[in-house]
């Protein structure tokens, strides 16, 4: 695809070239004809005069080779103009010439038409090179007969003039073409400036800068375009601003509600924990109500905590503080403290990522909670793997899995993949885990396992292996928390309680 600039330049150059060629050729032909006509008319007059007046006057008795050479006619002819003379006496010998530089046999190179016309007694001419020089040859006889005279007039001045004219025309054509190109460039720039400012503004808007506008001005088609473009951008910006305002109001509302809930919730949680401690002393029906109360308060607490955590993400109040973390030790420690029943499969080598132990604890803890509530009573498997670009932690259960079309929504807030919600789950755990994962530069993905069950995978970018040192935050607060068999790829699952 050729741009407007190129097409405009080509069109203008073609137009100019055509015009210049036509004018140039016309001029050239005209000048050429005028110059030749002038020289020819002059030459004819001279030839006529020479043949009709000078020759009969000097040699009234007829022209022979002897009389002619003695007559000095050649010099008489030259007095009237720059001319050389060839005289063909038609006696079987070579013609006589007025100049030693003029070979007598040059006649044989004259065109037949000229020779025939002369033989027929007419005055005739021919433009042609004589002895290597452009010349006008006029041939004829005196009225009384006699030898054939050929007068050779040099045409070099015409050729030189035409040469200069050609040069001038070529230079003029080149100048015209350059001017055409420059003009095309200027016009194209004039046309394209608003277009390119329009596309720059559109690109900025596409990139999220809704304040981009096209400079408006003038009264041409582009001014209308700019006005329409800017009107569209205004309307887009105000719509987006309205949406953002309402979204931020929603989020602030959630944050405020959660915040306001916290004071009564703090009292509730403390109260419930005291009731829990005294459950044994309550009558049976009150005890059951107490148990339910304790569980519900706990659920409410998880929900409010999770909402507050998400509203901190929404307020962009969360900042990642990354440092080298050994994923193997960290995952082992998290699993040990949160779901010791889970089967753990880890590489022998440490897997070092840029991470944050507390966020990893939130992510993997939430994945474990999800596995436990999603597939209660089944085995949960946790697997740490690493390849060249990423480290992954997979938390997999043997539950029913989720419908394929639900997989993509699994990390949305309050998304319910299974109708029954297990207690203790707010419906926000996976959304929170996904926010933490994004903050660590990674992400979460879910898939159904071929053999049944759901697998959720945390993927984290991998650092170059660091030199072994005590510089790692091992995620293990205490040495006696660590596994006693770090080289065993699979942790033996503890017996179920």
């Amino acid at each position: 695809m050729r741009g407007i600039r190129t097409r405009l330049a080509l069109a203008l150059v073609a137009l100019v070239a055509l015009t210049v060629t036509a004018i140039g050729m016309g001029t050239y032909l005209f000048v050429d004809a005028r110059l030749r006509d002038g020289l020819l008319a002059d030459a004819e007059r001279q030839a006529q005069f020479n043949l009709s007046v000078l020759v009969p006057e000097r040699l009234p008795g007829g022209v022979t080779r002897t009389t002619y050479e003695a007559s000095g006619l050649n010099d008489a002819f030259r007095l009237r103009g720059d001319v050389e003379t060839i005289v063909d006496y038609r006696d079987g010998q070579l013609p006589g010439t007025s100049n030693v530089g003029l070979p007598p046999d040059v006649i044989q190179g004259f065109p037949r038409a000229l020779l025939d016309a002369v033989a027929a007694g007419r005055l005739a001419f021919s433009w042609q090179a004589v002895a290597g020089r452009p010349s006008l040859v006029l041939g004829g006889r005196s009225p009384g007969g006699g030898p054939d005279f050929y007068f050779v007039f040099p045409a070099t001045s015409i050729e030189a003039a035409l040469e200069q004219l050609r040069l001038g025309l070529i230079v003029a054509a080149l100048v015209a073409i350059v001017l055409a190109l420059a003009t095309a460039g200027l016009i194209a720039r004039g046309i394209l400036r608003p277009v390119s400012s329009g596309s720059a503004a559109a690109a900025r808007i596409a990139g999220g800068d809704l304040s981009a506008r096209v400079p408006a001005g003038g009264a041409d088609e582009f001014a209308r375009f700019a006005a329409e473009f800017n009107r569209m951008a205004d309307s887009l910006a105000s719509t987006v601003a309205r949406l953002e305002r309402s979204e931020s109001q929603n989020r602030r509302f959630v944050a405020d509600v959660s915040h306001e809930l916290r004071t009564p919730l703090t009292a509730l949680v403390a109260e419930a924990s005291i009731i829990e401690a005294g459950l044994a002393g309550l009558p049976a029906d009150a005890r059951r109500a107490g148990e339910l109360l304790v569980a519900d308060v706990r659920r409410l607490r998880v929900l409010v905590d999770d909402l507050m955590e998400l509203s901190r993400f929404d307020a962009r109040a969360e900042r990642a503080e990354l440092q080298p973390v050994d994923l193997v030790a960290t995952v082992r420690s998290i699993v040990n403290s949160r779901l010791p029943d889970a089967a753990l499969q880890v590489p022998d080598e440490p897997v070092v990522v840029a991470g944050d132990v507390r966020r990893l604890d939130r992510i993997i803890g939430n994945l474990l909670d999800n596995a436990r509530s999603h597939a209660p009573g089944t085995d949960v498997e946790v697997m740490v793997t690493r390849n060249t670009s990423a480290a992954t932690v997979e938390v997999a259960d043997r539950g029913p899995g989720v419908p394929t079309d639900a997989l993509a929504h699994l990390f949305e807030r309050f998304y319910k993949a299974d109708v029954s919600r297990h207690e203790g789950s707010s419906g926000l755990g996976l959304a929170i885990a996904a926010e933490h994962a994004a903050l660590l530069g990674g992400g979460l993905a879910a898939e159904n396992r071929p053999a049944g069950g759901l697998a959720v995978t945390l993927r984290l970018p991998v650092n170059e292996p660091l030199p072994a040192s005590d510089g790692l935050d091992m995620g293990e607060p205490d040495a006696d928390h660590g596994s006693s068999a770090p080289s065993a790829p699979t942790e033996p699952a503890r017996p179920k309680t």
């Binding site: 009292a267 403390a270 005291i274 409010v304």
Partner: protein
């Protein structure tokens, strides 16, 4: 346990139920509904530990904490709103020893209170009675630190932190190890507790807290005490 706790909390429900929970756990509890009254009660009764809400009417918890620190090394545990990260750091910088996020369950709070009180008890009777750490003389039995014969007032937390490090010169202790040994967190405590306490400790024992020579930071890892010499 007959430790006396002063609970300063403005919300009546939280104040009452927390007091009940602490009494059930065997503590003697006195309460105050605002900062000024709390400080007044603290001066009068000199409790073993103060539980301090951050958001308080009349004088906020941070100010109360600073006032207490001006006069005493009594352990202070702040009650903070979860996630109010500024509150946590500012509270620790004001001299709090530990904090508990709201909402809390009573066993959780009782455990933090016990851990803070444990630090106020005497040193290990089987260990050495005193040690020298650079220019500091540490009396482990009497829990005092002095420099050139002048006692440096350290809180119990700061004292424990110093001795944990000073008794192992050159050995790196990670934040998690320090959280476990000094604060009693066995799983994922808040590392800012360590960092803020180290900062306060340095400002008391180092000649130039910006270029510490006694307690050194090991980048990406934790802290260690400088080796002698």
């Amino acid at each position: 346990m007959d430790a006396r706790i002063l609970l300063i909390e403005d919300d009546p429900s939280i104040r009452e139920v927390t007091a009940i929970g602490l009494r059930n756990a065997g503590f003697e509890v006195d309460t105050a509904p605002d900062g000024a009254a709390g400080l007044e009660k603290w001066r009068r009764s000199q409790p073993d530990l103060v539980l301090l809400d951050v958001m308080l009417p009349r004088m906020d918890g941070l100010e109360v904490c600073r006032e207490i620190r001006r006069e005493s090394t009594t352990p202070v545990v702040m009650l903070t709103a979860r996630g109010d990260t500024i509150d946590v750091v500012v509270g620790l910088e004001a001299g709090a020893d530990d904090y508990v996020k709201k909402p809390f369950e009573m066993p959780e709070l009782v455990a933090r209170v016990r851990a803070a009180l444990r630090r106020t008890r005497g040193g290990d009777p089987t260990g050495p009675a005193a040690t020298i750490f650079g220019p500091l003389a540490i009396d482990l039995a009497g829990r005092t630190v002095s420099r050139d014969g002048a006692e440096i007032p350290l809180t119990r937390t700061e004292f424990d932190l110093l001795t944990e490090l000073a008794q192992r010169p050159g050995q790196v202790l990670t934040r998690d190890q320090l959280l476990d040994r000094v604060w009693g967190y066995d799983y994922l405590g808040d590392s800012r507790l360590v960092d803020v306490a180290i900062g306060r400790l340095r400002s008391k024992i180092e000649e130039d807290a910006v270029n510490p020579r006694l307690i050194l930071t090991v980048r990406g890892s934790g802290y260690k005490a400088a080796r002698p010499g």
